[in-house]
Subunit: 200 residues, 2 copies
DNA sequence: CTAAAAACCGAGCATTAACTCAGTTTTACT
DNA sequence: AGTAAAACTGAGTTAATGCTCGGTTTTTAG
């Protein structure tokens, strides 16, 4: 592993676990055994370093997700969404630091003034919500999912799953204990239900 | 307003909008026109000041919620939860700074080492989830809500609603546009459905 | 009115953090 | 081997921050 990669890796861990402001370049230097000057040789400043971490996070999450969804066949849209939810919770465990980063507030704060950061954050969320939306559209064609607004439904499913993952991030509740209940809830939300089709 | 109250108010705004570490006592001093020494006269240090902000936040949110739920009659559990969801989204708009504070990561980080902070955070979440749980229990007695684990269901409903509120916090999506869809999803999750009762 | 107590002030201290730069080591190429 | 470029180093600079403390003003109570 090159020193540049080591810096990026250490920054990912520290930014996600301690926070951006709370992580000093000295911390990164100590963890990597690389001099502070080297950090600034590879990344012009701390914000650029964070941007690189975020770009790598985007790459990891979107690639992982897209390759999972591409190499699989689903009987219908409902099944696709169930798999997407399952994979989301699996990935949140596997890429714990990356998801922790996205569950912190400072990236969204920085996104207000830094367009590059905003673009990467939006790309990650778009990728995830798009997958759920495609599932809804697919399910509406094959009949496994009822009549409902696809994008909004995707956002709600995403919000539910991500919220539960965050419980774990915040040390409030163990997300995996809710896994079955989330799948059941998803199915209920997506299933055709005459009663609500009329009322909407 | 006393100076102590002014400090507390300014700290709430700054901690929630800028973050804890990013807010200096000089910032608070400037905003309130109160000398830095006065801040330390009323609050022994910055962490104690944050604790006071959190205590006030807990007081505000739990009192608001409890008084809303107490002074109202609901035809059944389902209606109670619908009202709780609606009030949650209303309150998140009214107490924007307080909810923003709870949607940041540092309070939960501090909670790991500071039991007083942990206690207040848990009290807020317990209060909110308890209300949803009570709604589920009530609905299961009056028949408006199906057979399902009350606490877990409450957590999922909470997670869904809070997740959508966070979209707004993070400037990703306007929460209010999803209001109707959330209510519909809630009803679907809570409604008795023979198909899933057996499968669980 | 007076004196003690409470509230308030802000300059100053000690520490820390982002970033620079002049110099050193390593790598790549002929 | 020789040399130029790339990679690396860490002490030093500058600015900011949490907090203290001696002194001043305001409030309170007899």
């Amino acid at each position: 592993m090159t020193r540049k990669e080591a810096i990026l890796q250490a920054a990912t861990v520290l930014f996600s676990q301690k926070g951006y402001k709370e992580t000093s370049t000295a911390d990164i230097s100590e963890l990597t055994k690389v001099a502070e000057g080297t950090i600034y040789y590879h990344f012009s400043n701390k914000e650029k370093l964070f941007l690189s971490v975020l770009e790598q996070t985007r790459e990891l999450i979107t690639k992982e997700f897209e390759s999972y969804m591409e190499n699989r066949q689903f009987r219908n849209g409902m099944e696709m969404i169930e798999h997407a939810v399952t994979f989301y919770m699996y990935l949140a465990g596997k890429l714990e630091n990356q998801f922790l980063l996205l569950h912190r507030h400072y990236p969204y704060k920085m996104a207000l003034t830094n367009p590059d950061i905003r673009e990467n954050l939006e790309a990650i969320y778009d990728c995830l919500v798009d997958i759920f939306e495609q599932g809804v559209l697919m399910g509406q064609q094959d009949g496994s999912i009822g009549k409902m607004p696809p994008r909004k439904t995707a956002l709600i499913i995403f919000s539910m799953v991500d919220g539960v993952v965050r419980f774990k991030t915040y040390n409030l509740y163990d997300a995996s204990a809710l896994f079955n209940d989330i799948i059941v809830s998803c199915r209920k939300i997506l299933t055709t239900d005459q009663k609500y089709e009329e009322g909407a």
